[in-house]
């Protein structure tokens, strides 16, 4: 949308510009209307709806087997976790017992996608601040993970691997070997990430004390995931409300106090290692047995309301389903982590320079299709 000249500079002498919807640093079609005084940000207003596909409404015409696949298109970097949330809510409603093997496969794949998502964050954070080189180093590891996804699930991003009751098919025989190769490659190369970007003084200076989100604000704005954990808010669903056997695993919830962009970087860098740790605990002892529990051909949820939350790479995803007892949901609502995290941007970018807004957006790590759904 074009702004007329009278809109560009308002009565108070503020300059109004649009960042996006077609701006490379918004990682999608997010439009931020920014009121500027010189270079200082007075106010930010996000405008949404450019990639609205009415996934919630579409789900009402899908069966409980079909509505899972489309959630891969919400937060496409956490497709496994989105699918898992939908599968879990159906299992909860039907009281299906998921076999131990299926749970282990789910956790391994989810942690792999969390790892690859954080790697992509690292790549794009560098790119947003003008460092092109880290992007290629990060994509080397991400490509290895995506190849595993391709070999195991048949697709690189929109995997559609989880079904109510387990997973769609068993792992291929050389899966543990391939995972170990990738983990070794990642651990060997992890120090390069620190050398090339995280340890760089220019990068650190652009991150430190920029966009401070206090713990109180994080609670008030509903932030979750690495954004809230960087403000010292303990909100890891894997720890607080464990699902799919996370309670049996040993891992740390990364908490950093500080709340600035630098704290958010540290949380994500440390979470990568925690994901590796979780996969290493499981990869050598994936239980034998069935990979999917027997379910009926046509799934019909009992009348009532069902809610399930999971921890995606960006925070808490909640799936809320109202069932009227038929084979399709009566209402389906997703509580997406990015939408809540987006509301922090106008709050924490006030008073900063416009270049810092890009740094804040990079560390909040938004996925726009998840905001609009």
């Amino acid at each position: 949308m074009l702004l007329g000249e009278e809109d560009c500079i308002n009565e108070e002498g503020e300059f109004v510009i649009n960042i996006g919807p077609q701006h490379p640093s918004t990682h999608g079609v997010l439009r931020l209307k920014v009121w500027l005084d010189g270079e200082t940000i007075k106010k930010v207003e996000p405008h949404l709806g450019y990639i609205h596909r009415s996934i919630e409404k579409m789900s009402e015409s899908f069966s409980y087997r079909q509505f899972i696949y489309i959630t891969s298109r919400m937060d496409y970097l956490s497709a496994h976790m989105n699918n898992q949330a939908c599968a879990l809510v159906v299992e909860k409603a039907l009281q299906v017992e998921v076999p131990a093997r299926a749970q282990a496969i789910r956790i391994i794949l989810c942690e792999l996608s969390r790892l690859s998502s954080h790697i992509l964050w690292f790549a794009s954070a560098g790119l947003d601040l003008g460092g092109v080189t880290p992007f290629f180093y990060a994509f080397r590891e991400r490509e290895a993970i995506n190849s595993i996804m391709e070999e195991t699930c048949g697709a690189r991003l929109t995997q559609n691997f989880m079904v109510p009751g387990g997973v769609i098919t068993d792992l291929q025989p050389d899966f543990p070997k391939r995972i170990k190769e990738v983990l070794k490659q990642f651990k060997d190369n992890y120090h390069e990430y620190n050398e090339i970007l995280i340890g760089n003084v220019i990068f650190q200076n652009r991150m430190m004390d920029v966009g401070v989100l206090t713990k109180e604000d994080a609670i008030a704005l509903g932030c979750t995931g690495p954004v809230a954990r960087a403000s010292g808010l303990s909100c890891d669903i894997r720890k607080l409300y464990p699902y799919d056997g996370y309670e049996k695993l040993k891992f740390d919830e990364i908490l950093v106090t500080g709340g600035d962009s630098w704290a958010r970087c540290q949380v994500r860098m440390a979470e990568m290692l925690q994901s590796v740790n979780i996969i290493e605990q499981l990869i050598d002892n994936i239980p034998e047995g069935e990979f999917v529990a027997k379910t009926k051909n046509v799934l019909k949820l009992p009348k009532g309301e069902f809610y399930q939350r999971v921890e995606t790479a960006r925070g808490e995803l909640g799936v809320y389903i109202v069932s009227d007892g038929s084979a399709t949901p009566y209402r389906c609502k997703y509580r997406s982590p990015n939408f809540a995290n987006l509301s922090a941007i106008p709050h924490i970018s006030k008073g900063h320079k416009i270049g810092d807004l890009i740094a804040i957006m990079a560390t909040i790590d938004l996925i726009i299709p998840d905001i609009d759904r």
């Binding site: 087997r65 080189t133 070999e151 050398e195 003084v201």
Partner: protein, 158 residues
């Protein structure tokens, strides 16, 4: 004190820059560690995993026989209506009428490669193929008929 801090910061910045440049320099003089592939040129050696979902295919054997009974489970399980199965009644040698497929229409332009049709098929008549280069100049070329002309149902498949 101030001067010391000032030069300390400059020294630290230069050191961190050099650390990064050392790394990029290392890869510059070790070209065998580069992992990028040149895609259209490496077509002949490109090896896609067996499970890769690129399109829906219907395998036919050497006698031009497929295994599709026309039960329409795949059509029902497709979330976006990419499949349309048109059936006909065929008179069998023993005189009985049986339902057979006439055309198995596949709209590749609408397909999201979710693989749920393959999962639903009771006779494994369809599979996910590896082909991924689907671009066409006109949309209508993406509408395909999967059963070959003159093909028939394999004996013994019900």
């Amino acid at each position: 004190m101030f001067i010391k801090e000032y030069f300390g910061t400059i020294f630290k910045s230069i050191k961190s820059l050099l650390t990064g440049m050392k790394l990029t320099g290392y890869y510059f003089i070790h070209p065998n560690k580069i992992i990028t592939e040149e895609y259209p040129e490496n077509r002949a050696t490109l090896n896609l995993p067996e499970r890769f979902r690129g399109e829906v295919i219907m395998p036919h054997d050497e006698k031009n026989e497929h295994q599709c009974t026309g039960c329409q489970s795949c059509e029902l399980s497709c979330p976006n209506g990419s499949i349309k199965i048109i059936t006909k009644q065929e008179i069998q040698p023993d005189g009985k009428k049986k339902k057979r497929i006439d055309t198995w229409v596949y709209h590749l332009d609408m397909c999201t490669m979710c693989g749920m049709c393959v999962e639903a098929c009771p006779t494994t008549a369809i599979l996910m193929g590896n082909e991924f280069e689907h671009s066409q100049y006109e949309k209508q070329y993406l509408k395909k008929v999967l059963n070959k002309p003159g093909s028939r149902l394999k004996d013994g498949v019900e």
